[in-house]
């Protein structure tokens, strides 16, 4: 009973957040200057007809909301407009049908573009996050266990340094190092048009391309995970129940495994979920540096080209993913920590 109420509450809150994000996303990009007739194409010699046609195609000929023709510049319009015939309503309506609009830049449905890029990004971020979490936590556990020893200080200093690295800077340096030393590819996801005898060779090729960006990503995020793991584990290991466990005669490894890690994972779960939002900034830099055809690179390009529908779609996707990840984290939290269900 309690559990399902907790679940419902969390899901309800997540849905509400999604709704707010949708509205925010809509209005933010309506406040921005520029529309496809100016932003994407930038040719004042377009005929008036062509401009009108473009605006119509992107639905910009409709008022933004009742009483407002446009938000930038703020132009008041009739308040008697049929609310169903406003950009807001059409936007939300399209969203409900799974349509995210058409990119100013490529004229393609944003959803199609996102679908193509998402998996590449998931592959990159996924691989890197798994590595970063694995090594970061491992290092954090080691450092916490050996608190105040040379091992601890070395790991701590290394992690802090990793954390301090500007992502794209590290990327460029690794790019040159990797391509000069090991002949690793400098960009792309695979060798285009490569002839591969087996699927394995094809995967190996992708792996070679994936190596440097993953390494960059892993290093940048490893430090943070290590620091958090170390600090929470230090807290947990100072708890009385650890002493109890030790008094019970349990061996150190057993205590770490059965009593410390699950408790220390609680904050980690939340951090990992929240971090998903921050990985985007990292993805933008790394994908641009390594020409990785993912969401980040697409966002970088869309920022430069003012491709608002694309940005809007990408940000909605990211925000929803983060909200969803947080929801999962909350549920996982309630699974890991029996106290939560009662609260």
């Amino acid at each position: 009973m309690r559990q399902s109420r907790y679940l419902l509450k969390k899901i309800g809150w997540a849905l509400l957040t999604v709704l707010i994000v949708i509205l925010l996303n809509f209005f933010l990009f309506r406040i921005l200057p520029g529309d496809p007739a100016r932003a994407g194409i930038r040719d004042p010699r377009l005929t008036q007809d062509a401009v009108a046609a473009i605006r119509e195609r992107f639905g910009l000929d409709k008022p933004v909301i009742n009483c407002f023709e446009s938000l930038n510049p703020v132009k008041f319009g009739s308040c008697g407009v049929n609310p169903l015939d406003t950009q807001l309503f059409i936007y939300v309506g399209n969203l409900l049908q799974g349509e995210l609009g058409i990119s100013y830049h490529t004229n393609r449905p944003v959803l199609d573009m996102l679908k193509e890029q998402l998996w590449n990004t998931v592959l990159l971020i996924g691989a890197a996050q798994i590595l970063a979490i694995f090594f970061g936590m491992g290092l954090g556990i080691l450092a916490a266990w050996r608190a105040r020893t040379t091992i601890d200080y070395t790991a701590l200093l290394a992690s802090l340094t990793f954390w301090s690295l500007p992502t794209f800077w590290l990327g460029i340096i690794l790019l040159f190092w990797g391509s000069n030393q090991f002949g690793l590819p400098t960009g792309g996801k695979a060798t285009p048009g490569g002839n591969f005898a087996t699927v394995w060779q094809e995967w190996a090729d992708v792996g070679r391309h994936l190596l440097l960006p993953t390494l960059t990503y892993t290093i940048v995020f490893l430090g943070e995970y290590m620091l958090i793991m170390r600090s929470t584990l230090l807290d947990v290991l100072s708890e009385d129940y650890i002493l109890t466990a030790k008094a019970k005669g349990l061996r150190t490894v057993q205590i770490l495994k059965d009593h410390a890690l699950q408790n220390a994972m609680l904050p980690m779960v939340t951090i990992i979920a929240l971090n998903l939002g921050f990985t985007v900034a990292g993805a933008i830099q790394i994908e641009t540096v390594f020409s990785w055809p993912g969401l980040g690179g697409a966002i970088f390009e869309a920022v430069g080209r003012k491709d608002y529908p694309m940005l809007q779609g990408a940000f909605l996707l990211i925000a929803v993913s983060v909200i969803f990840a947080n929801l999962i984290a909350d549920l996982l939290y309630s699974y890991l920590d029996p106290r939560v269900q009662a609260g």
């Binding site: 930038r42 004042p44 005929t47 285009p192 020409s291």
Partner: protein, 576 residues
Amino acid sequence: MKKIVLKLWLFLWIAGLLVACGGGETDSADTDSSESADTSSETADSSDAEASSSDEPVVLRVGWAGSPDTLNPGTAVLTEAYTIFEVVYDSMYQLELDGTYSLELADSLDVSEDGLVYTYHIRDGITFHDGEPLTAEDVAFSYNLYASQEDFPFLPVYTEFFDTVEADDGNNLIITLTDAIPNIQSQLIYLYVLPEHIWGGLEGAAVAEFENEAMIGSGPFKMVEYAQNEFVRLEGVKDHYLQGPTIDEVVFQTFENQDALVQALRTGQVDMITEMPNTAVVSLRNEENIELVSGPPLAPSVTDIIFNQTAPENCPPDDGLCTGHPALQDRNVRLALAHATDKQQIIDVVLLGLGAPGLTLIPDSLGVFYNDSLEDYAYDSTLANQILDDAGYLDSDGDGIREMPDGSNPLNLRMNWPSDSTNAPRMAELLAGMWGEIGVGTQLQALDPDALTATCCPTFDFDVILWGWGSDPDPNFLLSVMLTDEIPTGNSETGYSNPTYDALYLQQAVELDQQARIDTIWEMQRIVHEDVVYIIPFYEQSVQAFRTDRFTGWQTDAGKIALEDPSSLLVVEPVR
């Protein structure tokens, strides 16, 4: 349609987007390397990714910094898209690297006495890549599609003077114009011929949203695989009706990071690169197995320093703020600034020497239209100071900045540029230093391109802007930018107004005699130069590099540099 001559002049900001790549394959008659068709069986160099067994296809890899925005010719903007169109599609004319046009799809042309009816005879036996024949019907269909499709933002303007376009039974295409125009070639080069059996089935909004990833064309390369923002993979059409390429495949790969692009060439991941930072030039020159070429770009572009010189009476009544510094309306001030601008210094620092000093808004890459007889204002800050002194602009309060002759309004100029430009900030710093030497102050501010557009025109809420244009091979559009009539439309960036110039413009637009038109255009450039409407700091050069250990035969001695152009792609062959 009161507008003067409406053409597609894709106009672009300095920064990234160089547009509208023309380009042509060599004329069919004098193909000089047709016997090399069987070189594909020869092995490619085996140093890197290329396998050496003889049945491996010969793949040429081109690295570039961009990616086509779309493969739909009706909505594409970026150079990269036009490069692909150029090799996959055919059009009526081909623009050669020397700036001349040759017939491509047609083998002959008849023009009526009054210059209104053009009859092209389409070559027989041309097929699309899917095997369907290409006839005059397809050409007529394409032209009419471009003319009627209102969701195509640019292309309709190319068909502005078309009255009717029809195909007859003899595989002829008959274009009837509404007015006689001097430059039908440049009107037709971007009207790529599309297969009616594919595009004919599309209606309304579907036409503009057609992604066209299968891209059935009739050019020397055919589309094999396309991944947006990753690569374009094309296969050579060996039995092309004009000339088939020697290589089996060409792959255009995108590197969003220019350093990675250069590095990819160094490590042999690609065989040739088209866009690179000028700063890489020095180190690449010393690199083994890499050759660097530079020259005027195939797609002409120009960088300009814009003075807001809008006279109060010309201020657009609706949108105009016209806050330009009054001193800029004085030719003496503009002249002094021109003399105070060390173009070579700018070229050295901003372009690392890879540019030519600019002269007029018509760049040198427009060939015959470029008036190279003009004498530039020499860099001479003493002279510049003298001019300002004589004109009464003195530094009366001793703060190092001159004031207006009446002692008011110090010559402090706002200088703006688009924030996405990588060259402009450096140029702005240099100009600030140079102009400071003659007592002209500057306030530097980068602006978001949209904000810059809003400040620029027709608002005229600025003093100096560093910006640029891309251009068609025909100068008509760039000339129109300085017309009085264009002040309220937002095309005139300077607010310049000169009735003589306006009259000459109308004259060249209908002048059918090529030499007479050129003379008029030269005269127009002289007038504008005389009035110091702009300072044109430089004409940028295109820099490209390729590996000499992989392919040979690149066209490097033509008037323009475009290794990714069919002119080169058709003739390169692997090193044995």
